[in-house]
Symmetry: C4
Subunit: 254 residues, 4 copies
């Protein structure tokens, strides 16, 4: 097994598809969107990406069988839009792994003529979000103008710390290789898995790519999370702590 081992499970048939990246991250926003797409539409896995940079472990499925940790690339077609959707349970555990995994993704993108990469994620606001804005960034000025028309907020150097991990590198390294890339980041507290933020990002994606998707399951999950947040706020009031629970208690309850 190579440092990054890409196993071709099925041939990619799409011509000039878009690539949608939804690895775990802030509020699990990108992952929620990617998984919702794979649940709602017919898809098939085309690549499994194994790597020494993923945690050294196997996952155990509900039937007791195991699978080596990997990221998976799926192919699906939605209302005539051809997509490659990347998701997985882990990010690289090392700094250089992010670079090397992204390199492999861009190799695939070039091979099948991906015309644009959409890197999906969340941007942490540090407080409970009232209005679910989507913040954008792009590796070419013309993309900024196009995507801004769909209600995405650009500029003022947001997010301040830059875009970290595979999402950021798909844009940064993509530019060097001539692959267009847009990052769509849903505002989220950063404390919880956030299906509502995911919904906001997905709505932008459906507008930009012009397809429709049933949001019912994301909405259900959002309602469950609201219930959790409500109970937490009640607990706070009772205990007279006064404000939002701390990071340590709540991070990624999902």
């Amino acid at each position: 097994m190579d440092e990054i081992e890409v196993v071709e499970v099925n041939e990619i048939e799409a011509e000039n598809p878009v690539m949608v990246e939804g690895l775990p991250g802030v509020g699990h926003v990108g992952k929620l969107v990617a998984e919702h797409l794979l649940e709602e539409f017919e898809s098939r896995v085309v690549q499994r990406i194994y790597s020494h940079h993923f945690p050294p472990q196997c996952a155990v499925d509900e039937d007791g069988t195991t699978e080596l940790v990997c990221a998976e690339l799926y192919e699906c077609e939605v209302d005539g839009v051809e997509m490659l959707v990347l998701t997985g349970d882990h990010q690289s555990q090392t700094l250089d792994g992010h670079y090397k995994i992204t390199e492999k993704l861009l190799d695939t993108a070039e091979e099948v003529g991906v015309e644009r990469v959409y890197a999906l994620g969340g941007v942490a606001t540090g407080e409970l979000v009232e209005e679910y804005n989507v913040v954008g960034a792009a590796n070419d000025e013309s993309l900024v103008d196009e995507i801004a028309e769909h209600g995405v907020e650009f500029g003022e150097g947001e997010p301040e710390g830059g875009i970290v991990g595979v999402s950021g590198l798909l844009l940064g390294m993509g530019e060097l290789r001539g692959v267009d890339g847009v990052c769509l980041m849903g505002e989220t507290s950063g404390y919880l898995v956030d299906p509502k933020s995911a919904q906001a990002v997905l709505e932008v994606l459906t507008n930009v790519l012009d397809f429709e998707v049933d949001m019912a399951k994301l909405e259900e999950r959002a309602e469950e999370m609201e219930e959790v947040v409500k109970r937490l706020e009640e607990m706070n009031t009772e205990m007279d702590i006064g404000s939002f629970p701390s990071d340590d208690d709540l991070r990624y309850i999902g």
Copy 2:
């Protein structure tokens, strides 16, 4: 010395043996089982595996002589069952080291036609265990069915965090290379070296492979540990702390 250096000490004579892995881990369950097998049955070392990924140190034996840190593969035959038993005092100190060490083990497994790998370990329950169940996972559905008949519990995605380290990778990477693998995990508190959990795992192994082994020494050691636990509980009662001592105080007293 290479990054992973496998020194062949003796030729492996077994044909299609099973491989039993017992490196250190939760409750030292796997290591206790492997060492018990090597104590009870005649065996000879066939490989020493040195690695830059093990801690940079030598061990000092009781006579004052030193040995470079390594993992050791032994060959033994028990009631007609041919086994390769892997044990050692250390796991890889790096993430990629786990992958690379496992790769070497699977190279050996393929070379000598290992027909199945048994990765032994513990699964932490976080509380004192009353009934010593053995939880299983396997890299092929047919193995699940076979092993479940021996009283091993499968499924419901247990253990939740997956199986970490060489044990997990033997199954995960083994599947990619067509090597059958079963993981047998004894339930254990996770706070103490647990010979009782090791006994439960070993009983399963003797059932599955159909051999007999004297458990006396493991039982003795289990009784010693019970004595330790009892004293700790008394101390707790006296000090009115109320419950089980914390991780930091007790982890791996053995």
Copy 3:
């Protein structure tokens, strides 16, 4: 993309220029000087240095476009002095990355016949600085004598911990390759971005290289910082804490 990828943006035309390094560090002194030079004089980027050792991220500009994290080498000519100025937003995130990035810089230095490297930085005193001395170090004794004439303090093994990062390695590795190197370090508290310390370093550099530069913008920024320090001191007096605020509160407010 290689581990260190040097992209030649423009050909270096200078013959036997000096190289001025101003990556981020203590008080951001070196970076402030480098950036001031690039603001005040005409320059053009000649190299972008990308690396797996930089953080895996892209920066987001004010217009919403992204750029992969890198260090940039600029060429400029000031009063007949030809300079290569290196700056960037990040240092290597790994230990060996510092060595490897410095190796590439010295490759360039040798290729274009750089006659001397000036590594700029700050040296932390741990308290508010009254008089902005510049401490020096050089990889050849003759350089010490020459630079000491410009009011730079040498010797007594200062700074105690040695010179860390690319600055230190440009001198240390430079010596092995026969590249002359001088490090100029402005004394600074170590708690704040310090344009005043940068001014002191820049004054030495203009003396040594014999060119003139308008300091107005650095002075303005220094006054802003003084305002910040003053407010912090007032806060301390009011709160009766007595002394200078702690590292954690103030480090690199800029």
Copy 4:
């Protein structure tokens, strides 16, 4: 510059010398002995070992000149005993660096026919030492017998955690390559630089190798340290803390 770069400064003239390793470690015992040998006897540097695994920095000498961090191998002859003495200010900062640096040392050892390696260090007792014993370990049983005759204590698996770093690997990896190695470890509190422990180790070394050395400077330094310890104990008594100061306060005051 390679990952490990050995620069030959002078040719090694000794035939079948012993190698004495004194890199920094517990109580700086090994380093104190090595440096004392180099101070007391004529010597010349034969190798400088640079490495990506050492901290990325240069040291600044008292005259303001810099030197890239390295380990240095010296050659000296004492009463007819030919020695290669290794010392330096740093250990490898990475785990695999220890292995790789040791490999290079053993390459040299084999090239010049080193007949035995003496790895010097300290073993931490956790309390102030009354009687300065020297604990030993060796990579061959016959060496144990020989060295034990010089009052060195062997056995009972001491030190419990094994021997870490280059000292441990010189014995461990040396054994695999047929290079005899003895580790001499002076008992020391582990809290302070310990010239007295160094003296004890040096006395053993002079006995084993049969040469004489003036201990005056080590004794002076030991007296200075005793003064420090005395003052610290007085402070404790006054402040009624009762016992020896904690690790964090005292570690490596020297």
